[in-house]
């Protein structure tokens, strides 16, 4: 079947805060902007219940913040197409093409803002119990563990916040932390340490889980002594960091060893006209505010790139 060919000025891949901000800036620059999102706008924001570090909002849900950004981008004329996973790309040579099930895109510039997804727990029984006691989304699946003991693995803000969220349902939340400290915000750490339902096991690493149909226990090791202990619990929620969604770009775009996209200060990749913004690129701080900043920089430089091309064509 012949697919329709679409030729926007800027094609943005990913509808998280980086992509949506890029859409706002590119649309304000009067460029024809199309944003492709795998599901619906929001990215990892969608799973964040309360955001308390986005300036201008005391507390806002990820859904509301993402919804506002998407609405703003649409009103400025950006086209946001949901439920459109990208099937393949060809970015390196000549015309840039991006393929979805329904259309073929040939944009002048591409902004990759596909973000990152939670890393799977590196334990032997991960696949066996995925969805049956191994989970990565407390806001999604936490409610199914009412009055149960659940574990949380990880050492950053996400782990701390999700542990607090899980206390809404679980009878007890056990945090399993490899090191003797957490990397999250001090205020969240304090709330976790003072919570009567949360027990923090420092210097413990998750080795595996076991059970019948679903998880019944976890095996943890003391990272200082090597002593192994079994813990009875019904589920483990993993927050051990993220991995970038860059499998489609491996062929064309330069990545680091972890698969994150390498950019310069202007967020250009190794391919002219292809920019990267947000969690998907190599950077030190991954926050909503830094994703938004990236979206801005990428869009303005994409605009510059397109205008330079037009000047050259006109000269």
């Amino acid at each position: 079947m012949e697919q329709p060919v679409r030729e926007p000025d800027v094609l943005i891949l990913g509808g998280g805060p980086a992509g949506l901000t890029a859409a706002i800036y590119a649309a304000r620059a009067k460029l024809a902007v199309t944003l492709l999102e795998t599901v619906t706008a929001g990215g990892q924001l969608r799973d964040t219940v309360a955001i308390e570090n986005y300036p201008g909002f005391q507390s806002v849900t990820g859904e509301e913040l993402a919804g506002r950004m998407a609405e703003q981008a649409k009103r400025l004329g950006a086209e946001i197409i949901g439920f459109s996973p990208v099937l393949s790309v060809s970015l390196a040579a000549g015309v840039k093409t991006v393929q979805t099930k329904k259309a073929s895109y040939r944009p002048k510039a591409v902004i990759i803002a596909t973000g990152a997804v939670p890393k799977k727990l590196p334990i032997p029984n991960e696949a066996k119990f995925a969805g049956r006691g191994i989970h990565y989304c407390a806001t999604c699946d936490g409610a199914l563990y009412e009055n149960s003991v659940v574990g949380v693995v990880g050492g950053g803000n996400s782990a701390l916040e999700e542990a607090l969220f899980l206390t809404n349902f679980a009878s007890k939340v056990i945090m399993i932390r490899r090191r003797g400290y957490f990397n999250g915000a001090a205020s969240t750490f304090e709330a976790v340490m003072n919570h009567p339902k949360i027990e923090v096991l420092f210097h413990r690493d998750l080795l595996d889980v076991s059970g019948g149909d679903s998880v019944e226990s976890a095996l943890v090791v003391d990272t200082r002594t090597g002593e192994k202990t079994g813990i009875a619990l019904s589920a483990v929620f993993g927050y051990i960091g993220t991995e970038p969604k860059t499998a489609l770009f491996r062929r064309d775009i330069a990545l680091d060893e972890q698969g994150y996209i390498l950019t310069d200060e202007t967020l250009r990749t190794n391919v002219p006209g292809v920019f990267a913004a947000g969690d998907v690129r190599v950077k030190a701080v991954r926050q909503i505010t830094t994703a938004v900043a990236d979206g801005t920089v990428a869009a303005l430089n994409a605009e510059k790139y397109i205008k330079q091309g037009q000047n050259m064509a006109g000269a």
């Binding site: 599901v39 619906t40 929001g42 969608r46 799973d47 219940v49 990820g62 859904e63 949901g82 439920f83 996973p85 995925a130 969805g131 049956r132 006691g133 989970h135 989304c137 806001t139 999604c140 699946d141 936490g142 409610a143 199914l144 563990y145 009412e146 349902f169 149909d213 679903s214 589920a235």
Partner: protein, 76 residues
């Protein structure tokens, strides 16, 4: 074809699944498993998986928001 979807209120993929069904004008019945123990029990009787959403399309189960599988089952 009867479509039942098991959800929780904060679950983004549940919202995505509902938005997807709505975008195709497909009516569905939603069951909030966090609000109703009966709904949770009903869901767990159908599948041991606890990855939401669980979508029951005329007896065929889709675990999580799996667009390809939904399109296949719904003939989209």
């Amino acid at each position: 074809m009867e479509i039942n979807i098991y959800t929780t209120p904060d679950c983004s993929m549940c919202k995505a699944a509902k938005a997807f069904l709505a975008a195709h004008n497909l009516p569905f019945t939603e069951h909030d498993v966090s609000a109703s123990r009966q709904a949770a029990a009903e869901m767990l009787a159908k599948t041991r998986e606890r990855k939401l959403p669980v979508i029951d399309i005329g007896g065929e189960l889709v675990i999580g928001f799996d667009q390809d599988r939904l399109e296949e089952l719904l003939g989209l």
